[in-house]
Subunit: 346 residues, 2 copies
DNA sequence: TTGTATGCGTTATCAT
DNA sequence: ATGATAACGCATACAA
């Protein structure tokens, strides 16, 4: 009769190999500190028993978690998938697991997130949600694992962050439109509370100012980052008597929603209005028309953020753990078919 | 001078409350097994010290991991984001953390994934990758945590799975086209090795057969689930002398790529060819034209899969752990603007 | 109801 | 180079 064998422990291996558990542990963790012969015997016993180290026990002993947690605002938003892929690839290469937590969850703020901070569940925290304030992490002077912001950040943060040059991206967009001959430029905003919205608006205004133009308040369309917001902005645009000849959108989704709604109302892009997006999501290149947009290297953002966090965890920076290092990735404009010279000269 | 206090342990709380560690443990885990007064005193001490239970120690003692792992084929694919959101929401409600692993990672197959299976890292495994065979999990007769397939599955699997009615979805698509008057119907396939590709093709063929039609091999376009594959299929379509008047695509991305490439070549959808997608991704409704497509409730798939796995973990099904339960979610067709009556009668 | 004592599986320290 | 042993922090069986 075949008994259902329980998971083998280091003890089982030691017994079979006729060595102490300490030797087995060493043979696996630091092979060079074990004699050639012994190592062979131990490895054989490992094979035979099918032993796998129990990570929970190892983590308890080593006072670590073997994992990082990523705090995502709305996991359902496909924008984050590439970033997550970059994070996972980098973390797994470093032997770290990746936990995900959706900050949109009700009741998440206190209980669940606090769990990750103070319960030895994670060796480090990657925050993609700029609405989480610094003092959330530094609460009550407790010790907590290293924190790195990616994509979004909290204004005035003293924590390290990996950012994209959002203002610069919008500047490129506006300059492209100016070069095409546009002078009447509008902008569809993301949600006001989002730091990216404000950064992109800042770039928009700076680019106009650099060319002696000032933004017209009625050409600033409120919104969020969604397709629906773009469609709403289009409705407003349709109703205007004095319309901008082109629009910069705070996201590709906004741009697509905007174009789509105009199309349904018989207005053609770029013939009657030019549109620039932001993000360069997959569909942008295949949209109708192909979307001119600011490209964000999302995979790379994830990789860099994870790498920075791992550095912090392994203490590469030594006492520099507290130093706020901000990495800003350069913006790049992908020029496609949704922008053209204005049909009517201003 | 303010010393940097280390993380408080259950010992610290016990000392302060003047009770044993066992009592503290009970007061936190099973309050009803502790006297009213004692509980109050303990809770006060917990507050004062800021004690948080060490999950690693708890997990070691309880012989569990407190987490499930989701095996995703290509995390960068935005299709999975909603599913992940559903999984995370359900798991976190059950107090379980969610680990993500990208099965696309090189070397992942053996080392990393085996880690999750046999190293006490996860209490359960959610597999979104149908290319992972059953025997990968059941290797060498080892004990391993419960496994549930979601979305994709391995043909002939004996493991539980949550599926979408892929064949039924394609059937709805074909019947819609037939009802519009189409008789020349093509299909753009996903990757051959993918079970969803085969299921959807099966539905395609069955629907045709049910109406006395047989599929024409030259109207079956090879591909994968990407935008680029749709564009390639469009190129082929353009070159044909005898073209299908409509196309069902194995994914929305294929459909969008197809439509987009036709548009660049001056062909209009649905005027000259009708297109049906599959998935109902966010952009579908806002595409030009709005895409008729098979709606997949991705969030719900994630929720149901997580719920099933959690049931298995908590042993709700008792000995039924080995029983293969397959849940199939119903298909639904979202009719929009990319389909119309054929321009030329056959 | 509460306390005592033991062990979860591993690794690090200290001998040898 | 190897072995004995003591923790890591918690939860439970058992005793009181």
């Amino acid at each position: 009769m075949m008994l259902h064998r329980a998971t083998p422990t280091i003890q089982d291996v030691a017994r079979l190999a006729n060595v102490s558990t300490a030797t087995v542990s060493r043979a696996l963790a630091t092979p060079e500190r074990v004699a050639e012969d012994t190592r062979r015997i131990v490895m054989e016993a490992v094979e035979l028993t099918g032993y796998r180290v129990n990570q929970t026990a190892r983590n308890l002993r080593r006072q670590q978690a073997g994992a990082i947690v990523v705090l995502v605002p709305n996991l359902g938003n496909p924008f984050f998938s590439r970033i997550l892929a970059g994070i996972e690839a980098t973390a797994s290469r470093a032997g770290l697991n990746v936990l995900i937590a959706d900050t949109i969850q009700p009741g998440a703020e206190q209980a669940r997130l606090g769990d990750y901070l103070h319960n030895n569940r994670a060796d480090g925290i990657l925050v993609l949600d700029g609405s989480l304030a610094d003092d959330f992490f530094a609460s009550a002077g407790r010790a907590h694992p290293p924190v790195v912001y990616a994509c979004e950040w909290n204004e005035g943060t003293t924590l390290p962050s990996i950012r994209f040059d959002n203002a610069g991206g919008l500047r490129l967009a506006v300059e492209h439109l100016l070069a095409l001959g546009h002078r009447h430029i509008g902008h569809v905003l993301g949600p006001w509370e989002n730091v990216l919205t404000r950064e992109r608006l800042r770039g928009f205004e700076a680019a106009l100012a650099a060319h002696g133009l000032s933004p017209r308040p009625d050409w600033l369309f409120d919104g969020d980052f969604t397709l629906a917001a773009g469609a709403r902005a289009a409705q407003q645009w349709l109703k205007m008597v004095d319309r901008p000849t082109c629009i910069t959108a705070a996201s590709d989704e906004i741009a697509c929603g905007f174009i789509s709604e105009l199309y349904r109302n018989g207005i053609s892009v770029p013939d009657e209005v030019s549109v620039v997006g932001f993000d360069d999501i997959d569909i942008a290149e295949h949209f109708i028309p192909a979307l001119t947009t600011v490209h964000q290297p999302r995979m790379k953002i994830g990789e860099e953020a994870a790498a920075a966090l791992i550095d912090l965890i392994s203490g590469v920076n030594g006492a520099g753990r507290l130093a706020s290092t901000t990495t800003v990735l350069d913006a790049h404009l992908e020029i496609r078919a949704s922008t053209a010279t204005p049909r009517v000269a201003p």
